[in-house]
Symmetry: C2
Subunit: 342 residues, 2 copies
């Protein structure tokens, strides 16, 4: 039987202490962590990056099929992803949690296990936060601080005409994983008496439940001597992110359908669900891959990178944003995004 | 008639843009604000401080009597207060908001008006955030970054035996303001047909609805050449905060009942409510005054500070934490705190 300790037995301060005890600070820049009014960080001559994400039960996650440990891991990783997307390194996070009485201390321990695992894997320090009662459900708010080298921090606004457009990994798998979980939701609820068969679909589930941030791609870019002109992580779908870069950089783009990287499991699931595969890859969201642009001169360098694909090029703004189909036809890119799809 | 625009008409990106347009960055350390994966900050050779707060409707605020603009102002100010409590200066905030369909774009504009006003008053830049739908109510998560001078950042753990214990302003007024608002709640709900009479109680309401952070006290300490040995802001009540400092510093304390600063409006209300005045002042919470300790040698300097009162002294840990009554009797301090009182 699982142990269940009511949160009220610990109280607010006891709960924070309990959840954050034995945290050893890993980064030189983390002078002081949890336990005071504010954490104290020391960023000598590097730039400080800061990003934040708010995750609400019923909107961003469904605890019917998302294990709390995975949720903790993912909540942290999606913030790290935003720092990598600036060509930076995540260094610290603060974690604020609002919980209703439905949750026990053990539930929160499990959530924090996931958060702390992500911190260990990515070398990030948990340095502060807040816990609070809530009337309904679970709220997770994470802020991540990171550092970037002066002159090498990459925004969305630097893409220039003729730049190559690149993406890491493959797209649409996390979205397919979500479809799969939604379809089997009745099973998780115990409304059916058979177990869902996820064999051959493990990759899709992993992409949805336990995504990773592309620390390795940022490192590979640095080793190759490439500083992207613009970069974002793909959280709302490729189309949406391409339009963000085009808008911020005052450019247009052409991406080629046959260049968009898609895993075969994603393709098989799209077929089963009778969905348009390219639509899923372009608008699916939650891929947490990196989308970036590099000068044409870096063509050979970027082509040599493992797991990175050139999918198109940057154009003048007036030429708009289009997907070029296999038949050469062009379809205008729209920001359907993850929100409207879910 | 008040205009009401559904949030769905703007969409997530439109909403962020709308709420954060025309924000002019004020601080040299704010290189890049809202609009990318992360804000970019530049803290040359100063220390970076970071604090975060999560505010949930129904737990931390009641929109029956809290105007949204005040709520925005207060949400920002309580974070600034945490940075001042480290002897630092707040410089940037990120603001994440979760809203249910009950709220319109105009509601959020009003909330942001309050946040932006607080940022203007305290010289802080709004540099990022997140907005999301929520199933119920309003969620506000704010993270504040600040800077501190190396060697002058003040934690909770530096109080030493014989240090003087000081507080700024007066205590218990915000709590009395809350009692007053709770009592008149039926009026706000329209259940009664008379207007509440708040005349003579304006100070209590202001302390509850529109608290200020003690930037002036931090500046006065610097001018007087005082670096406190320990400092906190009083958000959960004086007793609770004293125990935090004692625990972190491994000391005890004696504070004197007749030294605890209380405004006359607070005293009058306590009388009316038939409440123990000292209990309210010690455990009321939400004062956002500063509690700090200074070496005995700074006695004359600290006594000359306007609006600061010496309320006791630090002792050896074994002597415990006590309030000395007017009759000389001692009562052990307990962390009743704001949460258990409300």
């Amino acid at each position: 039987m699982t142990k269940r300790t009511e949160i009220s037995t610990l109280g607010e301060f006891g709960l924070i202490r309990h959840l954050t005890e034995n945290i050893v600070l890993k980064n030189k820049s983390s002078l002081k962590g949890v336990g005071d009014d504010a954490a104290v960080l020391d960023y000598a001559d590097r730039l400080t990056l800061v990003t934040t994400d708010l995750l609400l039960e019923g909107i961003h996650f469904d605890l019917t099929y998302v294990p709390l440990k995975h949720l903790g891991y993912k909540s942290a990783v999606v913030n790290f992803s935003d720092i990598y997307a600036m060509n930076g390194q995540p260094k610290q996070i603060t974690v604020s949690i609002g919980v209703s009485r439905r949750f026990s201390v053990e539930d929160l321990e499990t959530l924090y296990e996931g958060i702390r695992l992500a911190c260990d894997v990515y070398g990030v320090d948990l340095v502060g936060g807040d816990t609070s009662a809530s009337l309904t459900g679970l709220t997770i708010s994470i802020t991540c601080l990171g550092e970037g080298e002066r002159g090498k921090v990459v925004g969305r606004d630097g893409a220039r005409e003729t730049d190559l457009i690149c993406v890491s990994g493959d797209l649409g798998a996390a979205y397919m994983g979500l479809q799969l979980l939604e379809r089997e939701k009745s099973v998780f609820r115990g409304e059916k008496d058979f177990q869902p068969d996820f064999s051959g679909k493990e990759y899709l589930l992993e992409r949805q439940l336990k995504p990773e941030a592309r620390k390795d791609v940022v490192a590979a870019l640095a080793r190759a001597g490439i500083v992207p002109t613009a970069m974002m992580d793909i959280s709302d779908g490729l189309s949406s992110e391409l339009l963000h870069i085009s808008k911020a950089s005052h450019v247009g783009c052409r991406v080629y359908e046959d260049r968009v990287p898609i895993d075969y499991q994603t393709a098989v699931m799209a077929e089963q669900f009778n969905m348009n595969l390219v639509t899923a890859a372009l608008n699916g969201g939650e891929d947490y891959e990196l989308l970036f642009t590099v000068p044409l001169a870096d063509h050979d360098k970027v082509e040599a990178l493992e797991g990175v694909k050139i999918i198109g090029h940057v154009t003048r703004e007036e030429l708009g944003n289009y997907l070029v189909g296999r038949d050469g036809g062009e379809v205008e890119l729209r920001a359907q995004g993850w929100n409207s799809l879910s």
